[in-house]
């Protein structure tokens, strides 16, 4: 997997692009997109559990990092948001999770690859472009985020300073 900083910046880029594309609520759901983008890594908790306690539930946790399983988890999590927000939260969580799975798909096949068609197939797929510890994903998403951040700063100023420059 790429690092979590890459994932969270990806969620921000996703919402910023959606906002510029006309989805005016997109910025309100950056938190939801960020939750979606990290959810498939629930599987890592089971890796940690195996390492620390020798309880091996890794096979049990595999669906969390597959498209079908991850989307079901996202659906379940979205129902824990207040009524009236679920419909706003769900698409951004789904998009965040999709971004995570696309990043994972780029990893080198030694890393195992994604079970794209689970539960129909256990075949693992990977584009084999990036090693897990590579800085490349962060550089790529950083290059995408930079112009968006500059544009936002130029048009709206710093988040904690009013446009007239009058301070907080």
């Amino acid at each position: 997997m790429p690092d979590w900083l890459t994932y969270v910046i990806s969620a921000w880029v996703l919402c910023e692009v959606a906002y510029l594309a006309g989805f005016r609520d997109a910025r309100r759901y950056i938190g939801a997109a960020a939750l979606g983008v990290v959810l498939p890594d629930l599987v890592k908790l089971f890796f940690l559990m195996k390492t620390l306690t020798d309880v091996d539930l890794i096979a049990f946790s595999v669906p969390f990092a597959t498209p079908v399983g991850a989307m079901l988890v996202v659906g379940l999590f979205s129902l824990f948001f207040q009524r009236g927000e679920t419909r706003g939260v769900l698409p951004f969580m789904v998009a965040g999770t999709a971004v995570h799975l696309v990043w994972d798909l780029t990893l080198h096949p030694y890393g195992g690859g994604t079970l794209l068609y689970f539960p129909l197939s256990f075949q693992q797929y990977s584009l084999g472009l990036i090693w897990s510890d590579s800085i490349l994903p962060l550089l790529i998403i950083g290059l995408c985020a930079l112009p968006l951040g500059i544009r936002r700063l130029a048009s709206e100023g710093l988040p904690w300073v009013s446009r007239s420059g009058g301070g907080l």
Binding site: I30, L72, W131
Partner: protein, 150 residues
């Protein structure tokens, strides 16, 4: 549809997938414990995993080491061109010869920047928590996330 019913249906679907995976994935992928318990079955079998190099003894063009995967150990031999060091986090691709009790590593990749990955992930976790909790708070009474500005 009632939200509670939808939660129950989704939870049941997820649990079903997990149980299915526990059975089927385990049949296709073996842990090091499984490998050690049945040496006959794991003779001349392909192996791929990520783990840590421990107890490295190098000499004569060969590297003997203990390969540790999530707390489980297996003896490994590697004679390839990439130089490994004690404590390296690596991904190996090789063949198990469990009758003799070792893994012959044919190819490997060293995750030289794994600590940077962990450090960046910690930064990402902090950022995620900041971004999420800026907008949402947990209402324990309703057990749901509510907007802070609602």
């Amino acid at each position: 549809m009632n939200r509670l019913l939808m939660k129950a249906i989704l939870a049941a679907a997820i649990l079903s997938l997990c149980l299915y995976s526990q059975y089927e994935y385990s049949r296709r992928h073996s842990s090091i414990d499984d490998v050690k318990e049945d040496p006959e079955r794991f003779e001349n079998v392909s192996f791929r995993s990520e783990g840590t190099v421990r107890d490295l003894v190098a000499g004569g063009g060969l590297a003997n080491f203990t390969f540790t995967v999530m707390g489980d150990d297996i003896g490994a031999v590697y004679g390839g061109p990439v130089e490994i060091e004690e404590g390296d986090y690596v991904i190996v691709f090789g063949t198990l010869f469990m009758k003799q009790g070792y893994l012959l590593v044919e190819r490997l990749h060293i995750y030289r920047d794994i600590r940077r990955l962990y450090a960046l992930s910690v930064v990402g976790l902090v950022l995620f928590l900041a971004v999420f909790f800026r907008d949402w708070r947990l209402s324990l009474r309703e057990l749901e996330w509510r907007r802070r500005d609602a």
